[in-house]
């Protein structure tokens, strides 16, 4: 595989020169350089609002010594600027080191010398812009014509192809040629004074074939149907209920309420409810939680592409891998970057991720999920005397220091005497993470397992993630609503 011309600047001579500059000055360095290209298509009410394209070349240089980091972002990439930026990063790291309270080293890991390319069928670079626009127009057409009550539609197509080179002081040289695509559909429906909206997205790592999948082709119809359905939904009554969560909500719960507390940087900053909990019971025995961002899982879901949250190697040159977080109710592992792994004296597990080469890698999730067990959804509903079945989410957040979480669901159905009843909208669920993990009363089987994807924000950076699980039932959840 030939690397992009723009990245050939890092020849043996330059790398040798950088290594010499680093010697006796710093303990670790890495350089990330990316050539980014991509397209944004945004249509509203069947009219193009944005048709845009970009090309940027970015470089961030990081240096480390004894607990202190320095980072320098270049605006122009040539040999002189790289050396100049490298010296600045060294100076910044030494300054950090002179002031930081925690002294530690970065444990050396084996150098990785590898080139990765995502195997796409229809390479995004080769697709004519007109074909991309045709798809967006078609979706706008479907959603706006679905009903007279649909007053406003929006379809956004985003793609990007990235050529990224990673170098570090352990001798790693990792080249990645990556394609990413995401499609959104939003629909607003109105009946008299009432406005309701629905939003859906499909995303993946791969080429234009992502647009040919069933989920992508049905996205606008799904949004339109949902927006109309919500016009008839009732406002919920607040109180404490048995709640059945669908895979999307289970995934959100595992990601937001629990996953963030497993990020080792949050743990070290004493913001996590899970500090000192490794080896201890944090959930009922049936609970197993995994984070697995490895490439190759698309086929598990019959998809011709890779999951949106997956990657070959993280932004610190560590290969992605499956990490068991909870095993049979017992907390086993946190998620790490090279710093937190070094400080906790374990091997890094490939969770050092950044949203671009000009941002610093943080500890981030990839594909986080709860493993399925043995309940069928119908059994779960039949077994529930009074409760709420909640599907899909609008948003969610958690106070990681206390574990108090809150999710806003999209669709919720009241359950009475084992039967699914009327639809409710804007139901919010809240509780305390560690209490709730012990109040799970049913975990769905394999057939109910699914996932969803999105962008997760932390420290001003958004990265691609997936989360999922089966349907689960939890007792005594606080349900809030307007009434």
């Amino acid at each position: 595989m030939e690397i992009a011309d723009e990245l050939k600047i890092y020849d043996d001579n330059l790398v040798k020169e950088l290594s010499n500059l680093a010697r006796d000055n710093i303990e670790y360095w890495d350089i990330r350089t990316t050539l980014n290209n991509g397209t944004v298509l945004s249509f509203t009410n069947q009219r193009s609002k944005e048709i845009s394209s970009y090309e940027t070349l970015e470089c961030g240089i990081r240096a480390f010594i004894n607990g202190g980091w320095g980072f320098c972002v270049l605006k122009k990439i040539d040999k002189n600027n790289i050396i100049d930026g490298f010296l600045k990063a060294i100076k910044l790291a030494r300054k950090s080191q002179s002031l930081c309270k925690f002294q530690f080293n970065i444990n050396e890991s084996d150098p990785l010398n590898k080139k990765f390319k995502i195997k796409s069928v229809r390479n995004l670079e080769s697709i004519d812009i007109k074909d991309k626009i045709e798809i967006v127009k078609n979706h706008e057409d479907i959603s706006s014509k679905y009903s007279k009550e649909i007053k406003n539609t929006r379809t956004v197509y985003l793609d990007g192809y990235f050529k990224n080179l990673f170098l570090n002081s352990f001798g790693s040289q990792v080249y990645q040629d990556l394609e990413v695509l995401r499609l959104f559909s939003a629909v607003y429906a109105q009946r008299k004074g009432l406005i309701q909206n629905a939003m859906n997205s499909v995303g993946g790592v791969g080429g234009f074939e992502i647009m040919e999948t069933e989920a992508a082709q049905n996205i606008s119809l799904k949004s339109a149907k949902q927006a109309i359905m919500l016009l008839d939904a009732k406002s919920p009554v607040g109180g404490k209920f048995n709640v059945i969560m669908d895979p999307k909500l289970t995934g959100t719960f595992i990601h937001e309420a629990f996953g963030h507390a497993c990020e080792a940087d949050i743990v070290l900053n004493k913001e996590s409810i899970l500090e000192d909990k490794i080896g201890k019971t944090v959930a009922i025995e049936e609970v197993n939680v995994i984070d697995d961002p490895t490439i190759g899982q698309g086929k598990k879901f019959n998809l011709p592409y890779e999951l949106y949250g997956s990657y070959n190697v993280d932004d610190e040159g560590i290969p992605s891998q499956k990490t068991v977080i909870i095993e049979d109710g017992i907390l086993r592992n946190f998620l790490h970057n090279i710093e937190t792994a070094s400080r906790m004296s374990i091997e890094p597990n490939g969770h050092g991720r950044a949203n671009s080469s000009v941002a610093i890698p943080q500890v981030r999730m990839g594909f986080t999920y709860l493993e399925p067990k043995d309940w069928k959804l119908e059994e779960m509903i039949e077994d529930t005397k009074s409760g709420v079945l909640c599907e899909d989410f609008q948003y969610g957040y958690t106070d990681t220091t206390t574990g108090n979480f809150q999710f806003k669901c999209k669709f919720s159905y009241r359950i009475e005497n084992g039967e699914k009843k009327e639809l409710m909208r804007d139901v919010s669920l809240s509780g305390m993470t560690l209490e709730v993990l012990k109040r799970i009363t049913a975990i769905g089987d394999k057939s109910t397992f699914n996932y969803s994807d999105g962008i997760c924000g932390k420290g001003g950076q958004g990265v691609r993630v997936c989360d999922g699980g089966p349907f689960i039932r939890i007792e005594d959840i606080t349900v809030g609503g307007l009434n």
């Binding site: 845009s52 605006k75 950090s96 909206n197 607040g238 900053n269 307007l482």
Partner: protein
């Protein structure tokens, strides 16, 4: 690109290509940002960062209103030429848009707004920046209950240049500095932990008060310890300035965005000219305040900025919407100078300048002292649904008020209200106000809010 004539030459080069390739309208936007950032984690300096971002975006529009946009951070002429050609080819693929009227004209006069550039920020060194970060760390170290802090200090020097095919040519230089503190405190007796945060953004370095920021964060964190569940009640809600921003001003900023409005996604559609609140409710978006974070002489398209009243004596004004040139053209009015653009990589959207809820007559202490039973709300992570105005959410930082005294922090307590009811139920507004970035807000008392407790 520090040199203005270099930029002008590149802009002319690009505009000429666009014109030759049949773009009827073209606009070129350059943006430079030199920044530094210091991160604090575990109450220790963690990372020092410096960087620079420089790039250019071009927007081209044809006779039928179809728009193409492209950007790059590679400023050699061959990449700029490629970018213009790409934008033109994209323009040719778009749909007609008869609502597009024109790009802004060349303006003869712009109002001067002082205090938007501070050379102390432009020439600030990492060494001097660290002193601000160290203030945060030292105060936290000395506090008995603080167990950790994350935070940062950052500053940037920004330059913008806008040129368009109507002859508009304008540039500005500005500075921004910000500091934030997120502290974790622990009550050693009860073992309970909680967080508190505070931030400050200023155009001028001497406005930054790092000690005050960390002290406020600590105070907020301690007020939120040992949280109690309460029973459901219907009671007055006292919003702190931070609460007013997240709960009234931010949602309002979305609801009066002319684009949201024109697509009928706002709960305020059809309510222009109506009285939304009491006659002592006044809200304006003022771009001309000296030294304020949201102030500017021109917006993201080069249109002169001004002061706009949004809600006047309780009445939502007909002219109370925020426009860029596109939405203004569609409605047949002048742009309000609210085209928002944070970088060369985005098309102009719509955003506030300084959104201000004006102060009232009561003192904040009086407002609280007169509450028999109520809730003090500082922070919720939830947001209202802008198209319906409905809100229901969790109180993340809030306390019970009883007989005029601020008591226990609230645990697992939710509340719900529609924003129209909330405006109608405003009972009192404090004299004291606080500024957070482009927002200014007082304390506000809302009558009769449904609070959902979880004590059983």
């Amino acid at each position: 690109m520090q040199n203005k004539s270099d930029v002008s030459n590149l802009a002319l080069f690009a505009l000429n290509i666009a014109e030759k390739l049949t773009a009827k309208f073209a606009e070129i936007y350059f943006y430079l940002s030199d920044y530094l950032n210091i991160d604090i984690e575990e109450n220790s300096i963690k990372n020092n960062e410096i960087g620079s971002d420089l790039g250019v975006g071009i927007r081209v529009i044809n006779q039928k209103g179809s728009l193409g946009f492209a950007y790059t951070n590679r400023l050699e002429r061959k990449y700029i030429e490629k970018m213009v050609k790409t934008a033109i080819s994209l323009m040719k693929t778009g749909t007609e848009d008869p609502d597009f009227k024109d790009l802004p004209p060349k303006y003869e006069v712009y109002k001067t707004v002082n205090g938007l550039y501070d050379k102390d920020i432009k020439y600030l060194s990492i060494e001097d920046s660290i002193l601000y970060a160290e203030d945060l760390i030292n105060i936290c170290d000395k506090d008995d209950m603080a167990i950790s802090q994350s935070g940062n200090f950052s500053s940037s020097y920004n330059k913008t240049f806008i040129f368009n095919s109507n002859g508009l040519s304008i540039d500005s230089k500005t500075t921004i500095s910000s500091i934030s503190s997120h502290v974790i405190v622990k009550d050693e007796i009860t073992n309970d932990t909680s967080f508190g945060f505070e931030s400050q953004i200023e155009r001028n370095l001497n406005g930054i008060n790092s000690k005050n920021v960390v002290k406020t964060a600590l105070k907020n964190a301690k007020r939120n310890l040992n949280r109690k569940k309460i029973n459901s009640i219907k009671a007055p809600l006292i919003l702190t300035p931070k609460g007013v921003i997240s709960f009234i001003l931010r949602p309002l900023a979305s609801a009066i965005n002319a684009e949201t409005f024109q697509y009928k996604r706002s709960f305020l559609v059809d309510r222009r000219g109506e009285y939304l609140g009491p006659e002592f409710l006044n809200i304006e978006d003022n771009a001309l305040i000296e030294g304020a974070v949201g102030s500017a002489t021109f917006d993201g398209e080069g249109v002169p900025c001004k002061n706009k009243r949004v809600i006047d004596k309780g009445k939502f004004l007909k002219s109370g919407l925020l426009h860029n040139s596109y939405t203004a053209g569609k409605e047949g009015v002048e742009s309000s100078g609210n085209a928002a653009r944070d970088s060369y990589s985005s098309l102009p959207g719509i955003g506030i300048k300084n959104l201000i809820l004006q102060s009232g007559k009561s003192s904040k202490d009086e407002i609280i002292q007169n509450v028999k039973e109520g809730i003090l709300l500082d922070y919720t992570g939830d947001r209202p649904n802008i198209s319906t105005g409905d809100f229901s959410g969790l109180i993340l930082q809030g306390n019970l008020i009883r007989n005029g005294e601020i008591l226990d922090a609230l645990n697992e307590t939710m509340f719900g209200i529609n924003l129209l009811d909330l405006f109608r139920n405003i009972e009192e507004i404090s004299k004291e106000t606080k500024v957070y970035g482009p927002f200014q807000a007082p304390f506000v008392k809302i009558a009769d809010v449904q609070i959902i407790g979880s004590a059983s």
